[in-house]
Symmetry: C2
Subunit: 366 residues, 2 copies
């Protein structure tokens, strides 16, 4: 049996002493094999193995190199909620692939009360760079990032001077969604919005309230919707807007149910995410409303959910893989000391599936 006495782990110095070389040589054996003879290197590695030395301590290495080798992702909510949005997994995966995996570790900072992670968590995070994943303008962690002087990559929001931003054409996408409904003849249209305000429960919102959302994406999408509706001669102040918070499916279904009950005259719903559209689909089914005959639904994002819905969802596609990949490239760029380029805005595209139809197709509205 191996001796498992809890004695301290061997260090570079121990190996150096065992082989009878300097500490620098052992370090080189691991980091710059070309700096010593193959024979000596073999001896060093052999001694390391014999002593149970598992290679340079990552923390010490980080300190000596003045770089921690990690990138931290700041999330808007706890992990369970954050990952209930498939868009996050996809973006994160593309990001992780882009940053040359193995070179950088990925640290997750779950969100707390004001959206982002706690300031304290940011201050203590061992990371060379931070990523803001769809955070509110008000997230206090962003100032902490600034205070630490860390480079920042922003995915979607908020737009911040000095940060490298990648986002999508939210406004254009929203316009396309609304235009599609208008062209199908819809006039009584409702909006399902995500997180307009923090710390409030979901529910009906006035236009002014919704327009004051601390989430840039919400503001953009809403503006896109309302601009088109206004241009079509619809009184935008009469367009009902409901807010949904926290990505909780049960609550979203209940909220959509309430919305549909409150405004039975609606013929279409503009949903700021596919998840919301999914909840609306379920609520509509409960109410005996057929989609699209009785109610047309447009989503946003085109996550895998959209295609799986029954009926498949008309939605605004964004390229999540590209977004994640570009975010990764921006991270690498900032890490190499270069400046943030101008914000990247990826195109969006309306994908028409089966959840939308001309307004009077069914005409069986309560």
């Amino acid at each position: 049996m191996v001796n498992v006495t809890r004695r301290r782990r061997p260090t570079l110095d121990d190996v150096a002493a065992a082989v009878g070389v300097s500490r620098a040589t052992v370090s080189n054996a691991y980091n710059r094999p070309d700096q010593l003879s193959a024979e000596l290197r073999a001896r060093v590695l052999e001694a390391a193995k014999r002593l149970g030395y598992a290679g340079p301590n990552p923390v010490a290495r980080s300190l000596a190199r003045s770089q921690s080798g990690a990138i931290a992702f700041m999330l808007d909510a706890n992990l369970s909620i954050a990952f209930s949005d498939p868009a996050l997994s996809i973006t994160l995966d593309a990001f992780a692939t882009a940053i040359a995996p193995g070179e950088h570790a990925l640290v997750l900072l779950p969100g707390g009360v004001d959206g982002g992670p706690k300031v304290e968590q940011v201050m203590r995070a061992q990371a060379d760079l931070m990523v803001s994943y769809s955070l509110s303008d008000k997230a206090s962690c962003l100032q902490a990032v600034r205070d630490r002087g860390l480079p920042l990559v922003v995915i979607d929001e908020p737009y911040l001077p000095g940060a490298a931003v990648v986002g999508i054409d939210d406004r254009g996408g929203a316009e396309a969604a609304a235009r599609h409904l208008v062209e199908l003849g819809h006039r009584r249209i409702g909006v399902l919005a995500q997180d307009c305000m923090y710390g409030f429960p979901g529910g009906r919102r006035s236009r002014v309230e919704a327009e004051g959302s601390p989430f840039r994406i919400n503001r953009e999408r809403l503006a896109g919707y309302l601009d088109v509706l206004a241009a079509a001669g619809i009184d935008v102040d009469s367009v009902p807007i409901w807010e949904f918070t926290g990505m909780d499916r049960e609550k979203a279904v209940a909220g959509a149910h309430t919305a549909l009950t409150e405004e039975p005259g609606l013929t279409a719903l503009l949903c700021m995410s596919d998840e919301l559209a999914s909840a609306a689909t379920t609520a509509a089914r409960h109410l005996g409303l057929r989609i699209p005959e009785d109610l047309s639904l447009v989503g946003f994002d085109d996550t895998p959910t959209a295609r799986l819905l029954e009926p498949p969802l008309t939605t605004v596609r964004q390229d999540l893989l590209a977004k994640g990949r570009i975010a990764g490239e921006l991270a690498l760029r900032l890490l190499s000391g270069r400046k943030a380029p101008k914000p990247t805005k990826l195109p969006t595209e309306l994908v028409v599936r089966s959840s939308t139809a001309p307004v009077n197709a069914g005409a069986k509205r309560r």
Copy 2:
């Protein structure tokens, strides 16, 4: 405008010099406020602010304290795939909550070719403890963890001496699932299994192959199924088993389609996960098979998916929240220097919903 010359960030020493105190005092101002007068502490903090010192460098602090303050999660696959399983988000969230968030950061190590993350990633990870999330017996990262001498918490698999393990009663759950079908009169039953073998595409497997899976959970669930079927007088060698790899929904649907076509006589499917059952549901619909009249389906895990399926899925429930929480508690325990307790095995429970019915209910089988 602030001077943004790229000069080096101030350190503890700079603040100490500015205030005219020793470095230790500044350190105490941050870490042990009771060690200095409130007045001096205020002066220190004020000077820090003035100099743009954002608090102790986390890496240096880690080195000095000989602990990195992070916990690394080793995953079986890339992030996109790993998170397409809702069980991971839930478990991870419960884990993160349990380990006193803010005290420990969470590092994600995505899996590579042999399941777990690369050895190199493990060697470089700044973490005080590793978590094996449902890894194969063969994952090379596990030896790396051992080599580094890091404590290890295992969720589900593999069972490893010295590690703190939390899992569920996979076998009992599988038995309950199979018994349920047997009691409903089913005799022609197929098994949809997850990842029996690495590096092979999915497809039909012999019993021996499936029993040789490097995933303990697979072996347990399969054993649970087959034991009960055998006890019911069914020839287990004739029970068809299909393997699905990689959690890819499209492929899973296609695979289930193939399976159902290959063996048209089946009246029920035992699925090793709800995701697999979901794919089977879709495939069955494509084939015009009604659930449960023509085909009964039992899932495993009882993730949110199960309830959302049409029809709602009969499945084996496990308490993912408890599993994550217990894993977190185990992590804290190991971190405090205590030994790993005996493996925790959480109970499972069959939840009967609408995807199962007596075998001859429909009788409209091809």
